[in-house]
Amino acid sequence: MIETAANWAARFDSEEASDADRAEFVAWQSAHPSHRAAWNAIRAFDSSLDAAGDLEHAALRRAAQARLTRRRTATGGFAAALLVAGWSMLHFAGSADETARYQTARGQVKTVSLEDGSDLVMDTDAAVTVALTRSERIVDLARGQVFVHVAKAPDRPFVIRTADGTATALGTAYSVRRDSAGTRVMVTESHVRICPADLPNACRTLGPGEQARITSSGVVGFGRIDAARASLWTSGWLEVDDRPVVEVLSEIARYRKHPIRFDPGQLLGRNVTGSYPLSDPDRALSGVADAADLAIARQSDGTLVIGPR
């Protein structure tokens, strides 16, 4: 299937495709969502080559040259097949120029592959509406958190919007989280422009490893984050380094169907460090309890009550 898509790309590249070819191509492309996805990946790659300037070309020539002259005995297997089990993780959305809604249940984390080639990873209990048009790509985040890998398309800005404001991709990977304290934006790669909804002149640009909060009074809470750690939830883990146990319990509780209860006052001053599996919140909680010397009592309705041992 990838091969077929690639053969089409090579055929179109030679500019000798006939009308009949094009009709055949259209039929092939609409035969299965995976065909379109493969084709989109090729187009995204191609347009990044088109968009490259002199700097990129010069750098590419240099890198290619270095490779030609270097013998690669060091690592062998450069042509290692990188075909990863990514297929099963791809979920295909509807067709272009349409609005689509996605949501996740408590405890669920899922990846939505958008038509434009971008990947949207949705955290527990999140809801979004995605509108892809010719001129822009808008994700309305009603609640919860999303992490996005943006497919490059300079003429179609990618915007994540909440009631608090907007976060527009100038590059590729970032996450946006909406909760009671406003909208938190964390940048993994490249840059993101954030604008409060009511103060259009108060926009700021965040770089890699930076975060900020959009609230009704503007952009606040600038800070550095460990970007890799901040997006670890996309692979089902929460990693904390000496954080208050109350914060960690609240975070894990977001993934649990039934509530947990604790008295924050009793847990003051207790910190934990560790990696906890968000895909199994109860196991995560017992890990935290062990680390912070807490006791967990389970009630018949599934509620957990947590307190000092």
Binding site: I2, N7, A10, A44, T75, L82
Partner: protein
């Protein structure tokens, strides 16, 4: 550290195999510091994934992970060096280059090199001539002494590789 659930199995893998892995990496990098860093990264990768893994042959598995990290590491160094060089050229021409531009150029280059690295030599050259130098397929055929259908096959291989790279993330 108590409470680090994920670290349990990785811990014993670490104790049993870390010396072996460092030696394995030292032979390939010829640099003890890089070898130690990459060994560390390999175990970090394992901790991230330990929930979904069942490891039957630890050393084969560690070597597979380490090899990928090593390939990534070499590519990253190439990207850095190439961009620095290109930047110097541009600065000499009096053009100003923003940090954003550099970040994006690095990402672009990284992706393209991943694609090129997965191709045989001639396919790589064909694709560069076509898409970077802008030569027509027939000119490339003449220049490399191959048929146009081979040129086409190489270009298709490059596009197939770009899909594979896109899905690998």
């Amino acid at each position: 550290m108590p409470g680090a659930i994920a670290a349990i199995d990785v811990g014993s893998l670490y104790d049993q195999h870390v010396d072996w892995l460092r030696a394995w990496l030292r032979r390939r990098t010829r640099c003890p510091h890089r070898a130690a860093d990459l060994a560390q990264d390999t175990y970090c990768r394992l901790i991230e994934k330990s929930a979904e893994l069942r490891i039957e042959t630890p050393r084969t598995f560690l070597a597979t992970v380490a090899r990928r990290l090593l390939v990534d590491d070499i590519r990253r160094r190439d990207v850095e060096r190439a961009i620095l060089d290109a930047q110097v050229l541009h600065a000499a021409n009096g053009e100003e280059i923003t940090p954003e531009r550099i970040v994006e150029a690095a990402q672009f280059l990284d992706t393209v090199l991943r694609v090129l690295d997965s191709l045989p030599e001639q396919a790589r050259e064909t694709f560069l001539l076509r898409r970077i130098e802008g030569l027509a397929q027939s000119d490339i055929a003449e220049r490399l002494g191959i048929s146009i259908s081979t040129v086409k096959r190489h270009i298709a291989a490059a596009y197939a590789a770009c899909v594979t790279v896109a899905y690998a993330d």
